[in-house]
């Protein structure tokens, strides 16, 4: 076990624990807050894995925007403060499938990698990533931009009935 391993295990424990709480808590808003914890922990994993830019993008976009939007929506839909009892439907199919998927994937990864070891790459600078995005990946990048624009327009049209019906 190296330092990186220890850090990963710790962050992973936080991430998984927060994830469990996200899907099991009976407080709607707390689910969102646990999601923040989960995302920060995953961002920490990225940092350990030498993906700084991805980590900070995750913090900026997920924590700063996505979760805020989610909480915003929770509040706009008048979620109650305190526990709600009707958040879940019967759990066993979900548990079966979710557990199956998680365990299956884990088994695949374990059987694939065993206890092999790799050396971590040197912390990736944003420069290298930027070069990649604007050379090899520039076309997908543009497409993603168009997609974002489409999503923006779509969200506006959907949420404003006065535009759509005309």
């Amino acid at each position: 076990m190296t330092t990186a391993d220890l850090l990963l295990v710790a962050l992973g424990a936080v991430a998984v624990g927060a994830g469990v709480l996200v899907v099991s808590t009976r407080h709607i808003v707390r689910a969102g807050l646990w999601l923040v914890v989960n995302l920060l922990a995953v961002a920490g994993c990225y940092l350990v894995l030498a993906a700084e830019l991805v980590a900070w993008v995750q913090v900026l976009l997920y924590v700063g925007a996505v979760v805020v939007l989610l909480l915003f929506a929770v509040m706009l839909t008048r979620a109650p403060i305190g526990a709600s009892d009707d958040l879940d439907r019967p759990r066993w199919p979900g548990a079966l499938i979710g557990g199956g998927a998680g365990l299956g994937l884990a088994a695949l990864f374990v059987s694939g990698y065993r206890w092999s070891r790799v050396d971590l790459p040197s912390p990736g600078t944003a420069t290298a990533l930027g070069e990649q995005i604007f050379t090899a990946w520039v076309l997908p990048f543009e497409v993603v931009g168009v997609l974002l624009l489409a999503a923006l327009i779509g969200a506006i049209v959907v949420s404003r009935p006065d535009i759509g019906s005309r």
Binding site: G12, Y46, L69, A73
Partner: protein
């Protein structure tokens, strides 16, 4: 670094997300579970980037960035839909959406 650790974490996150998607009735909670799945996927991508030496350097990270951006777009549209649903029905429980009638 043993790559199996982040991979197993990612698998666990995906499993949790799948569980959440299937179990949660509230649309917003369901979206949160979807974010868990995406987080797991991203973790796989980033780990693979650190583990596998690909032809294009940093391909996994680039993919992860794309996934994050797509998730942002997805959440924008999805929340617009959820709010519209709430405006129409005063509820955001997905299993109360009637689908029996022809659209």
């Amino acid at each position: 670094m043993h790559p199996v650790i982040p991979y197993v974490i990612a698998a666990a996150l995906v499993g949790l997300g799948a569980y959440g998607v299937l179990v949660r009735r509230n649309a917003i909670l369901l979206l949160m579970a979807v974010e868990l799945i995406l987080g797991g996927v991203n973790l796989v991508l980033v780990t693979a980037d650190a583990t596998v030496r690909a032809v294009l350097p940093a391909g996994g990270q680039v993919f992860a960035l794309f996934v994050i951006v797509l998730a942002a777009a997805e959440i924008g549209v999805a929340l617009a839909l959820v709010l519209q649903l709430y405006r129409l029905r005063r509820a955001v429980a997905v299993d109360e959406i009637p689908l029996e009638r022809e659209p």
